[in-house]
């Protein structure tokens, strides 16, 4: 007899579990070897605590009342619970703090297309280490994790979360127009972006061209030079920061797999400064992401800069299998 489980959730049977366990272990070993201690937090938290994360993190899809009428929520990522944990348990600890996790998170998505309502993330949080070196350290750990998973072709996109917010402020755009443009940028709808921009009164052709061109600029460090050519304070600030991060990566000898991407935008509310996305040629979806969240800890009462990343474990597993197959076919 078949007893259903909710769409977007799944059972894992021994053959897969064995492989997942191996992958988990390899990732955690990488994190631990670099001084990141593993933590666990409850899957359910008080809704008002998670809501401090803002943006999508606050948008816990699954909320319910407990027996005393408290509103609880299932976590939608691990960054916000860890911010909570650090503020509560390590308030007087000497920064930086290095923590890692392997945990399930929950989001409302339309299941069955590369997205699950319950999914496992493996990641790290580096709290109390400012840009650019803190960012570079996190990227170095990420690269080691990708290597440990056998994803030697994976690439990391490096962008800036504040670029467009600052650019639109510089253009004097506020309110609905601003949100509409940011939403076009986030979904990478270039046709819509050009339409929205052309409908804004008082916006010059060169300003429109700058915004559109920026969203398409991606590649090696030469991209920063091209972007600077567009001018403006927002571009200047973002490119200077990305340059500093890139220099820090080069000093560590780990800049090769990082692509500058000025079109990058992540929709989580707490990001500021550097943002990351991870791609592998074997998979059409992103493998993970992360970045800096220098203002998030403040919302929990601890004013510390922070950065981290999370990999979607199941997607890494799919990519790992594809890469293995590819290597075998080559031999």
């Amino acid at each position: 007899m078949i007893h259903p489980i909710p769409p977007g959730t799944r059972d894992v049977l021994p053959d897969e579990m064995r492989e997942l366990r191996r992958l988990n272990r390899a990732l955690i070993e990488v994190f631990e070897a670099r001084g990141y201690g593993e933590v666990a937090t409850p899957a359910i938290e008080y809704d008002e605590v998670l809501a401090r994360g803002g943006g999508r993190a606050a948008d816990s899809a699954y909320r319910f009342f407990d027996e005393s009428g408290e509103l609880l929520a299932l976590r939608s990522d691990m960054t916000v619970p860890i911010a909570r944990l650090v503020a509560s348990r390590y308030a007087s600890a000497e920064p930086p703090l290095r923590l890692c996790y392997l945990a399930s998170a929950y989001r409302a998505v339309r299941p069955q297309r590369g997205q699950m309502r319950e999914f496992v993330q493996a990641g790290v949080e580096l709290i109390g280490a400012p840009a650019p070196d803190g960012t570079a350290e996190v990227i170095e750990v990420l690269e080691a994790a990708l290597d440990a998973a056998g994803l030697d072709r994976a690439v990391i996109g490096l962008g800036d979360a504040d670029l467009y917010r600052a650019l639109l402020t510089e253009f004097g755009l506020e309110g609905e127009v601003r949100e509409a443009i940011l939403s076009r940028l986030a979904t990478h709808d270039l046709v819509g972006l050009e339409t929205e921009l052309s409908e804004v009164r008082g916006l010059g052709d060169d300003q429109i061209a700058t915004c559109v061109a920026l969203s398409q600029m991606r590649g090696g460090r030469e991209v920063l030079e091209q972007a600077r050519g567009l001018g403006g304070a927002a571009v200047e600030r973002a490119t200077a920061q990305m340059q500093a991060t890139f220099d820090a990566l080069e000093r560590r000898g780990v800049a090769d797999r990082v692509r500058i991407d000025l079109g990058l935008l992540r929709d989580l509310g707490y990001y500021s400064g550097a943002i990351l996305e991870v791609y592998d040629p074997a998979l059409g979806h992103i493998l993970g992401g992360g970045g800096r969240y220098d203002t998030l800890m403040r919302r929990f009462g601890v004013d510390l800069p922070a950065a981290g990343f999370a990999l979607y474990l199941e997607r890494v597993h799919v990519a790992q299998m594809e890469e293995e197959r590819r290597r075998e076919a080559k031999q």
Partner: protein, 224 residues
């Protein structure tokens, strides 16, 4: 089996271009010709669905499948109508270019001279609308503050109001002849749709050079 198994894609080899069959096919092949892609394969009588040319692989499919293949990365880039993209707005594909052709309008239509649409709205509080585009229809009425019962049909939607399934229809209109022949008339225009060039999110990052080059050529060929 993992739900993302369907999203596996081979990024090696030539760029895979999803080409829509049906109404957009001829003009799509014309513009691909114009950017120097050999389209003799899909133009032949062949029943194949995949055509290797020098440089790119053309994969032909229903227009409404293009976002699915491109989102999963099974095709790196593709061409489909804006109507399809609007209806599948939750599919994550990058919309890079308005190709300008395949121009048609998404409209609300009712029976000619018939007051039923307005009457349903006024006396029953909601209209019943038959459509192949339930999400576009729902969004249109929601945004204009009206309540609606959307009835999804798969085939000739013009039939619905003629025999009493629904008070009107939301459908794509190119020349308006089909509406006319079925005694229907346009009441409201919802959105104008043209062919769009879309890309997979990862391909846009990892094959940036190829995607940008093709985008630039298509932009030039489409006169944009």
């Amino acid at each position: 089996m993992s739900a993302i198994a369907g999203s596996r894609a081979k990024a090696d080899g030539p760029l895979k271009v999803a080409v829509p069959r049906g109404a957009l096919l001829t003009e799509t092949l014309d513009i691909l010709d114009a950017v120097g892609i050999d389209t003799s394969g899909p133009r032949s009588d062949s029943r194949s669905l995949i055509f290797e040319t020098d440089g790119v692989t053309l994969v032909t499919m229903r227009p409404s499948d293009v976002p699915t293949y491109v989102e999963a990365g099974a095709a790196d880039v593709g061409i489909t109508g804006k109507d399809v993209l609007l209806e599948q707005a939750d599919r994550v594909v990058y919309e890079l270019l308005d190709l300008g052709y395949g121009r048609c309008r998404m409209v609300l239509a009712g029976r000619r001279g018939d007051a039923r649409l307005g009457e349903a709205q006024r006396r029953l509080g909601m209209m019943r609308i038959a459509t192949k585009y339930p999400r576009i229809a729902e969004r249109h009425f929601e945004q204009s503050g009206r309540q609606v019962e959307v009835i999804e049909v798969k085939g000739s939607v013009e039939l619905a109001p003629l025999i009493g399934l629904g008070d009107g229809i939301v459908d794509l209109v190119a020349t308006g002849r089909t509406l006319e022949e079925n005694d229907l008339e346009v009441r409201e225009e919802i959105v104008e749709c043209t062919a769009r060039f879309v890309a997979n999110r990862v391909a846009h990052k990892l094959r940036a050079g190829e995607v940008d080059e093709l985008t630039a050529k298509l932009r030039e060929a489409s006169g944009g």
